[in-house]
Amino acid sequence: MNTEAKAVPRASLLSRLKVDRFSALYLWAGFMIVFGIWKTDTFISSATFKLTLGENVPIGILALAFLVPLATNSFDLSIGAMCSLSLVVSTFLQNDAERSFNLPGGVTALVAVLVCSCVGFVSGFVVVKLRVNSFIATLGISQLVTAVVLKVSDNRQITSAYSPTYLQWGRREVLGLPILFIYLMIIAVILWFVLEHTPVGRYLFATGGNGDAARLAGVRTDKMVWGSLVASATLAGIAGILLSAKIGFFSSATGPGFLFPAIAAVFFGASQLSRRPNVWGTVLALYALAFGIKGLQLVVGAGSFWVEPLFQGTTLIIAVALASQQGVARIRRKRAA
């Protein structure tokens, strides 16, 4: 009862096109073509491009914030609330209409970011010293931060008397691109350098890969986790002040809604390029999704807010499934060899 040995399968089209590692890029190109043809006049315009590039920057920075602790295999679910906190602090301190604070914009921004860093330090303490799982710890911190935000703002929209100079920092264009996009790129380059080209990046990923082994090999894993939570909070704080400079007022609904899209971009991005959480995969995934959503919104019409979560959920699952299918196939081949 011999069975004929199976013929070695030829490399499939999918694997030759590296669809698994570059699915975001293909997706992006696909959207450009489809919506470019469908809604040529509205989609293919510099206004749409600038709008899409600019309005997704806070989400992008939050995604990068989420990425840092994820490298150590820790979750920071408080980044959305942290973004709100930064926004409310900076608006509150600048609001000279009702209160006596009248600090210059630069100072308020710095204070807002530092406040977030401090809260990140507390998250780190809870995770590292009290040994609470990061998922739970940051979920708790997130609620505490939300409480502070609601107390300070009375859950009302705060319109601040931002100086025009301050708002220029969020609304200007540089080299024909929204200045916010430039900030995102600067942060991405710095983060990419730290994660991929410094010992600290190596230590972060080692901590995430096998914490026990990393500790025994001499990596200060506690410091890595703690530090990464401070970094994520700080980045979330920066996202908050960029928002303040862009939109010029506070609303308690602004920050928390960014959490899912940011996390979706990170996980989608982690299926790209180097196949682990990485900066450029995240940025790529972010904009592939953003342009898809923009196109679909133009097709469906204004007020179609449901498009966004529908789209993010679908693409996230498809992209990650595609990557893991390829991963499974690769493991099979390796076992066979």
């Binding site: 040995a5 010992p199 890969g209 082994a213 090999a217 390796k334």
Partner: protein, 505 residues
Amino acid sequence: MAISLHIHSLSKTFPGQVALRDAALDIEEGEVHALVGQNGSGKSTLIKILAGFHQPDANHVVTMHGAPFDTGNAAAAHAAGIRFVHQDLGLVEAVSTVENLALGFGYDTTFGKRIKWRSETKRAKQLLADLGFDINVRAPVATLGAAERTGLAIARALQDLDEGVSIVVLDEPTAALPGADVDRLFDAVRRLKARGISVLFVSHHLEEVFEIADRVTVLRDGEVVGTKRTGELTMDLLIEMIVGHRVVARSAIRSISAATPPRFVVENLVGPGVNDLSFAVRPGEVLGVTGLTGSGRDTLVGLLSGATPRFGGRVAIDGDDVPNAQPRGAIKRGLAFVPVNRVRNGLLATMSVRANLTISNVERNKRGWRLSHRDEKIEAKDWVGRLSVVTAGTEVPIATLSGGNQQKMMLARSFRLSPKVLLVDEPTQGVDVGAKEEIHSFVDQAAHEGTAVVVCSTDSSELARVCDRILVMYRGEVVETISRETGITAENIDRALLAGSTLAS
């Protein structure tokens, strides 16, 4: 004796590689048949073909009791009466023995799908008792000892014995078992044999092959070198068959002047399993530590390296105190160590061979702010060459390497730090004969370069091979010191181990 499993001209070709070439193997009814060979010799391929995981090449003959056997089909293997106990056992730790036995088989239920716990418990007790184990079958498996777990895995494989089980394949069942537990396992194997069941026993431990097996088949580079009765073989002959040439296991000869001040000093160490232990190691000396599980031998390296906190005592290198419970602090003071259980405590499995090598000192390749990947690669290539590590390069994940090669990289990680003190815990566990000798010669070399080395091991021949002095531990204390004067041989060490346990109890 009647042949139960007959294999002839069995080959397996993977793209670009022949893993098994014209293998022939006969297993007699009721015999214990050992299958040995270095990593990559084709052992696992053969087992995987039997288990139905791989499809062999055409034109092979495999029969079971004279009837054709459909290879590469897990259901057929099961129906033919072959059972497998894999190295990782596949037990669910959080649930009880009874529940583990039911995995994949289901429970005996009564009205309303109610599980008949009483009869299931009784049945479980009986199955384990048949193998010589008396355990609490309602307790979580996590509370069982290593031998008991292996026994449970065998019992699970055998529970449908009435369907005609004729061969049990034990894939490295002793890899993680301490000496005393191996005896209990072998007792179970002998009980199987008495019931007329054949056992195909895969192991790296050659002493065990002589102890338990009737016959042994040796594989090398995908081919069967031969099948011999163990009574007709000697250890040296068997090793020669496995590696293809004579391995000269020379005992290290070093002369350390008694006047040299000690490099590594341990005073009144107290910690889990260790009670008021003191010793000193001179530069260039290799100190062995042995003892049964629970004697303190198994927790010592953790306490010395800072992996686990010690309760009291002093550890010093060249007079410089090693801080408590800080692996990094210990490394900074010149203490490098290779922990036991490399998968859990050593490997960064998803990261590259290069990243695994340099993790204890990444800063060395910093150029300004930047980490030079180029310099790292050069360094990694150099170490891979120096330790003749078999790998597809320095950039592949370390998980793709074989156990022996992974272990060499763990040693390289430590050697790279040019340590003053090197601690190794079970350095050759799960490593094949060839790599074992290489690892031993790296230890020799470290000592030659002036490192004070401590080797904790349960492998007496290993200790005899590399050590200048051996401490035998029992219940947290040193009960005997074996030195050059008293004669460092595996027999002496084994005797001291036994004597220690009777002496102190």
